[in-house]
């Protein structure tokens, strides 16, 4: 057979593409359930990380069910839209942030640790190279930071990527996101030697200025949406 004729080449290409497409579709749909479970489990682990829970050797899903007692969906006016467990968890905050502010559904996770209530708020923003995101856990006064968790897609290792390390995240513990007049001001991330006005601050990462500013803006914008809820 002449393997160099136009017809042969064309048919060969078409058959190859169809076969490969079928194969990939099969694999993708076959593994989808396990993959979704992994993504959900990873999200639960991230939420728990903001509570500084040691998950070493534990089943994250079980710990999550035990500690997270309530999941709330609120809007910017602090109206509670849903308290059904699972609904807040299923919200995709990337999609929500594309909506108008008044229409956004905002998830809040309520945790119970040593019989004290903690509120966990998801945050998302932009770093230097790509998205950064995380969870901020607040004490029951909805003001004092209990713990934070940050992660990133592609920040520079050793510089911006340090936001994922406990040394940076733990600096937020005990800081307040409201000022004395109970207005929301967030927390500043400042270069050493500089002082933020009218708000509390932590040290930025040396060499990771843009990522550090990204964290600052992320906190301001993401937690800012919850202002009404926090003042309740």
């Amino acid at each position: 057979m002449n393997t160099n004729s136009n017809n042969y080449t064309l048919i060969y290409a078409v058959v190859m593409v169809v076969v490969v497409a079928l194969l990939l579709a099969l694999v993708s749909s076959g593994l989808k359930d396990i993959q979704t479970k992994n993504v959900e489990l990873d999200k639960k682990k991230q939420i728990l990380s903001s509570l500084k829970v040691d998950l070493e050797g534990k089943d994250a899903a079980a710990v999550y069910n035990e500690l997270i007692v309530k999941e709330l969906v609120v809007d910017v006016n602090a109206k509670i839209l849903s308290e059904v467990k699972g609904e807040a968890f299923a919200i995709d905050i990337i999609k929500e942030s594309a909506k108008k502010q008044e229409e956004r559904k905002l998830p809040v996770y309520v945790a119970q640790i040593d019989s004290k209530t903690k509120y966990i708020i998801p945050v998302r923003g932009a770093g230097l190279w790509g998205p950064i995101w995380g969870y901020v856990a607040l004490d029951d006064d909805k003001n004092t930071v209990f713990g934070t968790y940050f992660s990133h897609a592609s920040e520079t290792p050793g510089l911006g990527a340090e936001i994922a390390l406990p040394a940076f995240q733990d600096a937020f513990i005990g800081k307040h996101i409201l000022n004395d007049a109970k207005e929301f001001v967030s927390i500043a991330v400042m270069k050493a030697g500089q002082t933020a006005e009218n708000k509390e601050q932590i040290d930025a990462i040396a060499g990771g200025t843009i990522t550090s500013k990204g964290v600052e803006n992320m906190l301001l914008n993401s937690i800012g949406q919850y202002e009404a809820f926090l003042k309740q």
């Binding site: 190859m16 990939l24 592609s154």
Partner: protein
């Protein structure tokens, strides 16, 4: 059995591990060698993934070699590699989620790893499936051991750990030792690869240019 491990196949397998190493002699696959060698674990997974993909892509192309139209042979090779890479990436996402997050885009970038296209075009297009399979394994392992060697030094001196376990004791840090930050950054991978090439060339004089 004698046919399966003849001298020729042995050469095909052992060549890429030493004298004809894809990384240190042909200087292929350097990009991923920089990207995934800051820690040992992703380097191991990357080495293994590339080995599996290059071996099976070699077999598939070798089986198809007499039917592939010459004018679209590169496209056919690319499609086979891309399909295999996508399958490996999906499997990792399902069964080794943490690792797949760590490797993120680099799994996808296996497609562009020159070792794969190089072996498919240079070997599998003209050899039988079994030899091609062995050649793929040889080149995959040849690539993998360089990655693992580089990652070993980078993780040990950059983070003081190996596979996440602490190797350099806390006492050393208390006494003033500190991790080398340069080890974590990509340039150090180049320097380490260069050191391996240096040792390799001084041991194999025939590789040196006059």
């Amino acid at each position: 059995m004698s046919k399966l491990i003849s001298d020729k196949t042995k050469d095909i397998f052992l060549g890429p591990l030493g004298k004809n190493n894809p990384v240190t002699v042909q200087v292929l696959g350097i990009c991923s060698a920089l990207a995934v060698t800051a820690k040992l674990e992703p380097a191991l997974v990357m080495g293994l993934s590339v080995t599996i993909i290059v071996a099976f892509a070699n077999v598939i192309i070798s089986l198809l070699r007499n039917t592939i139209p010459n004018r679209i042979r590169i496209i056919v090779q690319l499609v086979v590699v891309a399909a295999l890479v996508t399958i490996v990436s999906e499997i990792l996402k399902a069964f080794a989620y943490d690792v797949s997050v760590q490797l993120s885009v680099y799994i996808g970038l296996i497609i562009t790893n020159c070792i794969l296209m190089g072996r498919l075009e240079a070997f599998a297009m003209g050899n039988k499936p079994w030899e091609s399979f062995v050649d793929g394994l040889g080149n995959g392992f040849g690539y993998a051991w360089i990655l693992v060697a580089v990652a070993f030094f980078r993780e040990l001196f950059g983070s003081g750990t190996l596979l996440g376990f602490r190797i350099i004791p806390q006492a050393a840090y208390d006494a003033g030792y500190s991790n080398n930050g340069l080890m974590i950054l990509p340039p150090m991978a180049l320097i380490l690869v260069a050191c391996i090439i240096w040792v390799h060339r001084s041991r194999n004089k025939e590789l040196q240019e006059k």
